[in-house]
Amino acid sequence: MTFNYVVDPEAPERAGRASTRFKGVLKELGVSPKVIRAISIAMYEGEINMVIHAKGGTIRCDVDPDKITVVMADVGPGIPDIEQAMKAGWSTASPEARELGFGAGMGLPNMKKWSDKLLVETELGVGTTLTMEFNLT
């Protein structure tokens, strides 16, 4: 089963909508609360990143019997230094974003922590695609 979502850069206040909707899907499918929590946190972080750092993007969620794969692709500046971006507390968020409580520098670290596998593909000036896997077994 595949679920697709669009993250609208014009409506940053709506960031978190896709994660909320997919959480509802997972609940209906009877996925364990532990896995739902992990996916919710990781996907929310990705969604916020798409809004505060990029110009929105698309999310594709594949539900298989043994795992759930979430692919988040944005059109954005790309990540110049992945190693640095993976460090907890490191952030390039704007002062405006920080005032709203974003930019804690926990985005990618949280995605790595809560997913079973994280793949970051990024190209400067083109965009970033994150692929996260969550094991169901």
């Binding site: 978190g16 909508r17 994660s19 959480k23 919710s40 972080e45 409580g101 949280n110």
Partner: protein, 110 residues
């Protein structure tokens, strides 16, 4: 105890009445959304000074039944509408976060 029980504290005012029968099991305090997202537990009352609409997504995703906006901050119109949709209760207080947290602990043993 449930969300409605919190109203025994006169310092708390209801801005949005969500599902007030939901159980409250503890509390969490924080203004950085990622930190709250990664650490708040389901059923916890969340004390914050953030009042914009993204707090509803965090509460909804984490299973937080009630957001307490402290220090006299008021929720945005968008926040109120979205909270209604998600059935999340919002309360406000003039007290600073630490003071309202202290009251929740001493009054309810959270």
């Amino acid at each position: 105890m449930n969300v409605r029980d919190l109203l025994k504290l006169e310092d708390l005012k209801v801005a949005v009445e969500g599902d007030m029968d939901q159980e409250v099991t503890g509390g969490y305090m924080g203004d950085l959304l990622s930190v709250v997202m990664g650490n708040a537990e389901e059923g916890e009352a969340w004390i914050t000074i953030q009042s914009h609409v993204n707090i509803i997504a965090v509460a909804s995703l984490r299973g937080v039944p009630v957001i307490i906006i402290a220090h006299g901050f008021e929720p945005d119109e968008d926040t109120i509408e979205t909270a209604k949709d998600e059935e999340i209760t919002i309360m406000t207080t003039e007290l600073p976060p630490f003071q309202i947290a202290k009251k929740l602990i001493t009054e309810f043993g959270l």
